[in-house]
């Protein structure tokens, strides 16, 4: 008999968090450790009295940082909740007020007092100048903040929120808190930065000046030879790429699902390419083909007897590179769409005497329309957010994502301009994201009932088949050539100028010296960034997967108020271009209360929130395959929601977990747009290193390094396929009995 023991004794979770709170206040250093989060020299370096390493309580004892003292109140108050019954109204009241007060005070003091004392003029006017200052928060503040957060969640759970389920309430609050801190807070900082003048004052007019700049919105190019605004450039490119990738994606989807083409399974391998290819690698390959000394350019120049030109840099090159890079994404989306059109509808149309072509035109295509729009919007967002290709191939064709970068790192160093550009970019991508979710959200005609449809898809009508085959064949061979170029380029001295075969680039990057003593020395220039990348990606991957799966669990299995807003918030970071994340992180986390720039942690965090939507999607997709009655059975058998999550859902999701792990690992290795703002001398990432090589015109090394990355990631994906293939559980049983 499950006697309800939690009625009278205090739940161990609460005791745990109260202890964490006290440890945070009494024992561990309050402020961030300058040498890094995971260094522990401070233990032997003046702790606990040295004010750099002192815990909050010691600081107050020394008469410093007195504004931390009020934090003792909620900590002490929380002790009064111990020993009280959960149903006692005072239990909830104590925990809620302690949690809210503690958390808010922690935030307020953090934002009010910074490196130069008071952060806001009115505070100084009110309390007089402050002769003290504080740095970024460290272990102590982090522990205490978590303790207050979970005290609060236990309080509202005791009041009956979500059936009093502590695990669910805590999980929701945790996700909301960290998404707020690491997505919404930086974006807010970015928006504010657009209104700040050079003197640090707020001003609307400075924003208006920067926003209505001709460099952003100018349309002179229509009438004269002057360049158009970057916003128009980006928009035009994104629209083109969206349309072209959708058409090509549909072409491939038709070949794979509706033709007798023998090797269509191999075509699916195309979908892996964008996952394992760093975004700018396509650009590099195109330079080898179409650049000034590129093979194709030189060939035609000699043929026609003209001077080779830089024709490809700018719109043509960007268009080719982005189409190559993002067509597989549209392909992936559209396979599902084309397969999802119920064959019985098409068969019905056929029995009603429509010819194959008419069936396609009047039934199949209209049913695919929402899917096509979806693919277009994805291509649009990807093109807008792309940073690597414009950096390598952009030439004089400026786009938003690279302009943001040059506004920050270039000679101009104009935070305001970067912020304004980021706002414009964000508006475009969020607009597309919004359209995708709310306008298309309810318009899917594809069947997802899971019930077997006995029909088969008709083959493509002949009128459609020939052009489709032709386009697909050309595109596939082009893709193959591009990837071969990457491989070939890595083995050539200097492409187009000195075509000697060599492995010197690999040696420069990855040489290892064995000394006589047997010590290995990683002498290659790329090893440092390579190991950093592996380390950061390996740390970020499990965190991303965990956060994604917990969020997916909350979205598919729990009902709570504000669930739609919660879903929108967690998926939002998908639509925020990496460059915007990068700029906003620099603005938000360079100063207290959260100081992270220059650390490895900020890279890990940026990966977690950039890739979280991927984990969420993987989780949602596989969780909605699990019948809800499995959870309910577990609950009625006396397991609580945490035990259910751990013992029933997680084991059944093993393939999804693996996929999320590998995918976030690989994405962390290929990312460039946010990373390039956040890398430091100590924590340099592979992609940033490669871009650096490209800027020095050291293409050979860049391409050799890229090839290595592709091989590493290909093996990661291969390993995944191998592992997932082995962990399959009997399908039939996971869907419940099918006999009727």
């Amino acid at each position: 008999m499950p006697t309800i023991t939690s009625e009278n004794t205090t739940h161990p979770t609460l005791i745990f968090w109260i202890i964490v709170g006290w440890v945070g206040f009494l024992l561990v250093p309050w402020y961030g450790i300058e040498d890094g989060f995971f260094t522990f020299e401070w233990l032997s370096d003046g702790y606990p009295t040295d004010s750099d390493y002192a815990p909050g309580a010691f600081l107050i004892g020394q008469g410093k940082k007195l504004w931390l003292a009020p934090l003792l109140l909620p900590l002490i108050a929380s002790l009064f909740a111990l020993g009280r019954a959960k149903s006692d109204p005072l239990f909830a009241k104590i925990l809620i007020s302690a949690g809210v007060f503690g958390f808010c005070w922690l935030l307020m003091q953090g934002f009010s007092i910074g490196l130069r004392g008071w952060q806001f003029g009115w505070l100084e006017a009110l309390f007089g100048p402050l002769n003290d200052r504080q740095f970024g928060m460290g272990y102590g503040a982090m522990f205490l903040a978590s303790a207050f957060l979970f005290m609060f969640t236990q309080g509202i759970a005791a009041r009956g929120a979500i059936n009093g389920d502590v695990f669910v309430v805590s999980a929701i609050s945790l996700v909301v808190t960290i998404v707020t801190v690491f997505v919404f807070f930086p974006i807010a900082r970015l928006l504010i930065a657009a209104f700040i003048t050079e003197e640090g004052k707020y001003s609307i007019s400075i924003f208006a000046d920067k926003f209505f700049d001709d460099r952003i919105w100018g349309i002179q190019c229509l009438t004269s030879g002057i360049k158009c605004g970057v916003a128009w450039n980006s928009l035009f490119l994104a629209l083109l790429v969206g349309v072209i990738t959708t058409v090509l994606g549909l072409t491939f989807a038709l070949v794979v699902t509706r033709s007798r083409f023998k090797y269509k399974r191999n075509l699916r391998a195309l979908t892996v390419l964008p996952i394992i290819t760093p975004p700018f690698v396509i650009g590099l390959a195109l330079i080898l083909l179409f650049g000034q000394s590129g093979t194709v350019t030189v060939f035609f120049a000699e043929l026609l007897g003209i001077q080779p030109t830089r024709w490809m840099y700018g719109l043509p090159g960007l268009l080719i590179a982005q189409t190559l890079a993002f067509t597989p994404i549209a392909f992936l989306v559209l396979i599902g769409v084309v397969e999802g059109v119920s064959p019985s509808m098409e068969e019905a149309a056929q029995t009603l005497r429509a010819s194959k072509w008419e069936v396609f035109r009047t039934v199949s295509l209209p049913l695919m329309r929402p899917g096509l729009a979806n693919a277009f919007l994805l291509g649009f967002i990807e093109s807008m957010a792309d940073f690597g290709n414009p950096l390598v191939l952009g030439g004089n064709y400026d786009v938003l994502s690279t302009d943001i970068f040059f506004a920050i790192v270039g000679a101009q160093y104009d935070q305001g301009r970067a912020a304004v550009l980021a706002m414009v970019l964000l508006t475009f991508t969020l607009g597309a994201f919004y359209a995708q979710r709310f306008w298309l959200g309810n318009k899917s005609y594809t069947s997802v009932s899971g019930k077997g449809d006995a029909g088969v898809h008709p083959m493509m009508p002949r009128r459609l088949a020939y052009p489709v085959y032709t386009i697909a064949a050309i595109w596939v061979s082009f893709t193959i050539v591009v990837y071969l170029m990457i491989l070939a380029g890595s083995f050539v001295e200097i492409w187009g100028i000195n075509n000697t075969i060599t492995i010197k680039h690999y040696l420069t990057a990855f040489s290892i010296n064995f000394e006589e003593t047997g010590v290995r020395r990683w002498t290659g220039s790329a090893w440092g960034s390579f190991f950093t990348t592996l380390k950061i990606a390996a740390i970020a991957a499990p965190l991303t997967a965990a956060l994604g799966l917990v969020t997916a669990y909350l979205l598919t299995r729990q009902d709570f108020r504000g669930k739609n807003a919660f879903e929108f918030g967690t998926m939002l970071s998908f639509a925020i271009p990496g460059t915007v994340i990068g700029v906003s992180y620099i603005l938000a986390f360079n100063v207290p209360p959260i100081e992270l720039t220059g650390t490895g942690i900020i890279l890990v965090i940026s990966f977690i929130f950039r890739n979280m939507p991927v984990g969420v999607r993987a989780g949602i997709a596989s969780m909605s395959q699990l019948d809800k009655s499995l959870d309910e059975a577990s609950l009625t058998l006396g397991a609580n929601s945490w035990q259910t999550f751990r013992r029933v859902i997680l084991p059944l999701l093993r393939p999804a977990i693996l996929a999320a792990l590998v995918y976030s690992f690989v994405r962390a290795m290929t990312a460039i747009s946010a990373v390039i703002f956040l890398v430091s001398a100590e924590y340099n990432m592979a992609t940033a290193y490669i871009i650096g090589r490209v800027e020095n015109n050291d293409y050979g090394l860049a391409i050799a390094y890229s090839t290595t990355l592709i091989v590493v990631m290909l093996s990661a994906v291969g390993l995944l396929q191998f592992l997932v293939g082995r962990t399959k559980i009997g399908r039939r049983s996971s869907f419940g009995p099918t006999a009727v």
Binding site: E632, L637, G638, I729, P737, A739, V740
Partner: protein, 360 residues
């Protein structure tokens, strides 16, 4: 090995004015009060969407009542989540955990009820023994037939010896022959162990066969409650009459009422039956097809009728008959001497055949 003995914890279930509202305005259950005695098997019967499954899930704690009070035994459980209620449930899809063996499935709940390892194992094995699955403990659910999976689900719920055991359409995934067998097994176990069982189904035959009492639901409310016999023989209204077994609904005239009995006329036919508190005037009677008697024309107290359609369905005959007061559906066991389509016959009702329906 532990024996599953008579359940001493079997408890009553009481609903006091319970309402469940989804999404602000959809009333899935509207102000229901009911009480289920301990040790009885009570069926919630009704068409899909009538609120029976929601009612069941509120007993389980998988849904919380929007208003009203739910008691199990004497304890108010209205705010208690499923985990903390001493109730277990057999799901329509069985919901066996596909990654656990049969034994692990059956032990799952025991583990969270604080039994030690040996006790858990012996209780789980006893449960499997009870449902006749000795020796299947090492298999995965996917290696069992539908009927076996169903029995594992029952064992998993049984071994917790819950205060109340819930069944959500447990037979709907089994084929017709197996259904009869399994429902008898469930009934036997329930009676032997003295369990309180709440059983949801939309199959009236199943409900009649297994229940001590039946609660017929319609549009989120209770239409009628009673023993199977009461419901069959004295339905309160058209809905219940038609839902429990088939019924001919015929307009009639109540000529006179004296105490408990009433005289009615259907066309030229006279009949005496229970008045059920009705007053003279127009009314409706329900007549089961099996209680319509067909004979040669001009038999006494019969009305002339004509066979419109005659169907042989194996163990009985089905007739569609045209009478002066409408078209009647009749069944007859006289397979040897059938009437033919177009034949003239005399039609009468068995003595206890027609039942007055209460005014709606």
């Amino acid at each position: 090995m532990a024996e599953l003995t008579k359940n001493k914890k079997a408890a009553s279930v009481t609903f006091e004015n319970v309402t469940k509202i989804y999404g602000g305005d959809v009333r899935a259950v509207d102000n229901i009060s009911l009480s289920i005695e301990p040790g009885k098997l009570v069926t919630l019967l009704g068409p899909s969407g009538c609120g029976k499954t929601t009612t069941l899930r509120m007993i389980a704690g998988l849904e919380m009542a929007t208003e009203g009070k739910i008691l199990i035994g004497d304890q108010d459980v209205s705010m208690l989540p499923a985990t903390d209620r001493d109730v277990s449930m057999v799901f329509q899809s069985y919901a066996l955990f596909p990654h656990m063996t049969v034994l692990e499935n059956v032990s799952y709940g025991l583990k969270y009820s604080g039994f030690d390892k040996d006790e858990t194992r012996s209780r789980a094995l006893a449960g499997l023994d009870l449902v006749g699955l000795n020796g299947f403990d090492g298999r995965l659910p996917s290696e069992l037939s539908g009927g076996q999976q169903q029995r594992v689900a029952v064992a998993r719920a049984l071994v917790l010896e819950p205060q109340v055991l819930l069944f959500d359409e447990p037979l709907s995934n089994l084929d017709a022959k197996l259904r009869r067998q399994v429902r008898q097994d469930i009934r036997d176990i329930q009676q032997n162990l003295g369990l309180t069982v709440v059983y949801v189904t939309h199959d009236q035959e199943e409900a009649l066969a297994v229940s001590d009492r039946i609660i017929v639901m319609r549009n989120a409310a209770i239409a009628q409650e009673g023993t199977p016999r009461e419901l069959y023989e004295a339905p309160v209204d058209r809905f219940v009459a038609d839902f429990i077994g088939e019924a001919n609904l015929i307009h009639c005239q109540i000529d006179s009422v004296s105490g408990e009995t009433a005289e009615i006329s259907i066309g030229k036919m006279k009949h005496t039956l229970r008045s059920r508190g009705m007053q003279p005037g127009p009314a409706t009677v329900a007549v089961r097809p099996g209680r319509v008697a067909l004979s040669s024309p001009a038999t006494s107290n019969s009305v002339p009728a004509k066979i419109l359609k005659s169907t042989f369905v194996g163990n009985h005959m089905e007739y569609v008959v045209d009478t002066g007061f409408g078209v009647i559906f009749a069944m007859s066991e006289a397979v040897e001497t059938p009437f033919d389509t177009g034949q003239d016959v005399g039609l009468s009702f068995a003595k206890s055949g027609p039942v007055l329906l209460l005014a709606e």
